[in-house]
């Protein structure tokens, strides 16, 4: 039996989404952000799988659900290396890399405690800076955050 068959046997889904190539340390954050504890269909999570690309990777398989574009943005922020596989009738019908929009609104916290977004009822807004590593620049206080500082609300 090939390793692929092994994985499929554990968690084959008919319709849904497989998020692949998640860095192992991001997997639980992604579960929280996608609120998978509230999911109605089956969800399987595997982590610490060997990966050529990442060393150790995680995979999340969500039955009966496609991700919203907002959720895809959230994943792109947390795990820019991730791949989204859309499963239709047990087969991968579409595969795409997540990518970041130029602007992100609402769901990320500004790390600057003295930022107006942390003092008044106002939605955050960040410009995404292109480059090797994700950097977000707060449109209000102009502070930049690296990947490690990104906190999703």
């Amino acid at each position: 039996m090939t390793s692929k068959e092994k994985t499929l046997r554990i968690a084959a889904i008919k319709e849904g989404t497989v998020i692949d190539h998640i860095p192992a340390d991001k997997i639980f954050t992604i579960i929280r952000v996608l609120r998978l504890d509230k999911a109605s269909g089956s969800v399987s999570v595997a982590t610490n799988l060997p990966s050529k690309l990442l060393g150790k990777k995680g995979v999340v398989k969500i039955a009966g659900r496609e991700l919203t574009s907002l959720e895809a943005e959230e994943i792109a922020l947390l795990a820019p290396e991730a791949t989204l596989n859309i499963i239709k009738d047990y087969e991968v019908s579409e595969k795409r890399k997540v990518n970041l929009p130029e602007q992100i609104s609402g769901f990320v916290d500004c790390m600057n405690p003295n930022c107006i977004t942390n003092k008044q009822p106002v939605a955050t807004r960040f410009s995404v800076k292109a480059g090797e590593k994700v950097r977000l620049k707060c449109d209000y206080c102009e502070r930049e955050m690296g990947q490690k500082q990104i906190r999703i609300l």
Binding site: I116, V122, Y140, E142
Partner: protein
């Protein structure tokens, strides 16, 4: 430059301005300095909303407005306003928008002026938001350099002191990155210019030098931009004592500099420039402060659409 393109524009961050924008504001300031226009803003009202106390900037804006024939309303003390009662900044702005033509605001909370600009349809001018931006300071610094030194291209400027927290230094470096000048950053390691700025400057092809040795570096400077090391940045008073007087511009240092060096300082100073320097032709920090008037006049006239 598109005709009238400044009308209605907010002045929030130096990064919102192109090289052409900056040069245009400086040229309008020059015109207003040469030829006063006491009726230009007649009938216009500037709302001066200082949520954080400031004397110099607030007075400089008010004087600029009045010299152009405009009027000023506002507050300088949050305790006297409904802001203290919990009104949101958004609501305060909406109310002020209804009876003024331009808002000038300072806030210790970073990003507050931008939020106000989103709430209001009249232009908002940032007069300082915490550690973030103080664009009119940067413009008056540029105006001073242009006036006293001539041009930006080919110039070497040395920034000295607290380069880590000094927002005036950060903004001026961003503004000068539009020109072909060299920048030297002189600071103790703990207060050095943030890497993000150094990287940005190098990417733009600016020659950058970093050092902690003022004596060795200062001979290169056409402009020496001195800053204050701020006590409030140091949680530990012993740390502050350590850095407080690492650099001091006095006659000894001046001897090491080019004869033509211009010494600038955003003021207030607390001892980092010896008062004996004041009477030398090199000291231009009081002229620099006075340049706030034509520069702020230019900004007000431009965003109000009375000059193009």
């Amino acid at each position: 430059m598109v005709k009238g393109s400044f009308k209605g524009r907010d002045v929030l961050s130096i990064s919102d301005f192109s090289r052409e924008d900056l040069l245009h504001i400086l040229s309008v300031a020059g015109q207003l300095e040469k030829k006063p226009r006491p009726d230009l803003l007649k009938g216009k009202i500037m709302a001066s909303l200082f949520f954080e106390p400031s004397t110099r900037t607030k007075l400089s804006f008010a004087a600029s407005m009045i010299k152009l024939g405009g009027q000023v309303i506002g507050f300088a003390d949050v305790r006297t306003t409904s802001v203290k009662k919990g009104e949101t900044l958004w609501d305060t702005t909406k109310m002020v928008e209804a009876y003024s033509d331009v808002i000038v605001t300072r806030n210790d909370v970073e990003g507050a002026p931008r939020l106000m600009s989103e709430a209001s349809s009249i232009p908002v001018v940032n007069a300082g938001d915490g550690a973030n931006q103080h664009p009119t300071q940067t413009l008056l610094d540029l105006y001073t350099i242009q006036k006293e030194h001539g041009s930006f291209d080919g110039m070497t400027i040395g920034f000295v002191g607290d380069l880590k927290y000094g927002r005036t230094v950060h903004s001026l470096a961003v503004a000068l990155s539009h020109f072909k000048c060299s920048m030297h950053f002189v600071a103790p390691a703990a207060l050095k210019m943030p890497d993000s700025y150094i990287t940005m400057l190098k990417e733009k092809g600016i020659t950058v030098e970093e050092t902690d040795d003022l004596d060795a570096a200062c001979k290169h400077f056409d402009v020496l931009y001195m800053t204050r090391i701020q006590e409030e940045r140091f949680p530990d008073p012993i740390e502050y004592q350590k850095y407080k007087s690492v650099y001091k511009i006095d006659k000894r240092v001046l001897e090491l500099c080019k004869e033509s060096v211009k010494i600038m300082h955003p003021l207030p100073r607390v001892g980092e420039i010896d008062p004996k320097i004041d009477e030398t032709p090199n000291a231009i920090y009081f002229k620099q402060a006075a340049n706030g008037i034509p520069v702020r006049q230019a900004i007000l006239a431009l965003v109000l659409g009375e000059l193009e």
